[in-house]
């Protein structure tokens, strides 16, 4: 029986982080879509919800991004009553930064850069492994 590939939305404005994270995700066999800022992420999530194509299985988001940051994107995604696990992947990793994301509605936080090991933990935590 074919197992559907996990669909991940990667939200990251800096190309180098996108390139590395994309490679980590693809190495794990997941299907990756990308958004370069929070507004694009919200739009993509909304389109998926409206289009009936099925929600993302996981959203990985940076914090600092132009147009809309990861915190606001998280709030807006949660306001759509989307239960997809959201994990912040950010260089801003002090306790107040982490708490801000959790308060916004994220499920977890991991400091950049994303590695195979970190992704493994995330996928296992949310039953996506």
């Amino acid at each position: 029986m074919d197992r559907r590939r996990i669909r991940v939305l990667l939200v990251e404005d800096e190309e180098i982080h996108r390139v590395v994270a994309r490679a980590v995700l693809r190495a794990a066999g997941v299907e990756v879509e990308e958004a370069e800022n929070g507004a694009e992420a919200v739009r993509r999530v909304r389109e998926r919800v409206a289009g009936g194509g099925g929600a993302y299985d996981l959203i990985l988001t940076d914090k600092q991004m132009p147009v809309m940051d990861g915190l606001e994107a998280t709030r807006q995604i949660r306001a759509m009553v989307v239960a997809t696990p959201i994990v912040a992947v950010s260089s801003d990793s002090l306790p107040p930064d982490v708490q801000a994301f959790i308060t916004a509605g994220a499920n977890d936080f991991t400091p950049k850069p994303l590695t195979k090991e970190k992704l493994g933990h995330i996928l296992a935590k949310f039953g996506l492994a």
Binding site: I16, P113, K116
Partner: protein, 151 residues
């Protein structure tokens, strides 16, 4: 051409980069992502890093001039650069980024300037060493005529 000798030289050069603290474990993580589908992945990431970090250093230098004593702004720029360094495992550069941020926290302009100069030196050293390393890898690889991204 003695490819095995070239590969040994490349391995020794890489070991030196780690032993001297220029690179950390993250570089190995990036190497681990290289495969047949992306045979030049590490070098491509390095090219991207030096393009990105060059831009960020330039932005920071402009900010130091245009926004004197704006430590919050300077810190924000340096945070971006620190993140970029983390992505490839540029360990010594990352340390200088953190020292710069400490100096921002203390409101120490001279300290910030000193750190920036050290950061630029480390940037140049790492660039030169990685260029040499990748050149050696290209010579030692099975396809010596691989395309050469501009660093």
């Amino acid at each position: 051409m003695d490819y095995s000798n070239l590969r040994r030289q490349a391995a020794s050069m890489k070991k030196g980069l780690f032993d001297q603290g220029h690179l950390d474990e993250q570089f190995r993580q990036v190497e681990d992502l290289q495969d047949e589908a992306s045979p030049n992945f590490v070098e491509e990431v390095a090219v991207l890093f030096f393009k990105d970090s060059g831009r960020l250093i330039s932005n920071l230098e402009q900010a130091l001039e245009k926004y004197p004593r704006d430590f919050n702004r300077w810190d924000a720029y340096m945070q971006q650069l620190k993140g970029s360094c983390s992505s490839i495992g540029a360990s010594r550069m990352k340390s200088e980024c953190m020292s710069f941020k400490d100096n921002c926290g203390k409101g120490n302009v001279e300290g910030c300037m000193g750190c920036l100069q050290k950061l630029k030196r480390e940037h140049a050293i790492l660039r030169q060493k990685l260029e040499s390393y990748f050149q050696l890898l290209r010579q030692a690889g099975p396809t010596g005529a691989a395309t050469r991204p501009v660093m």
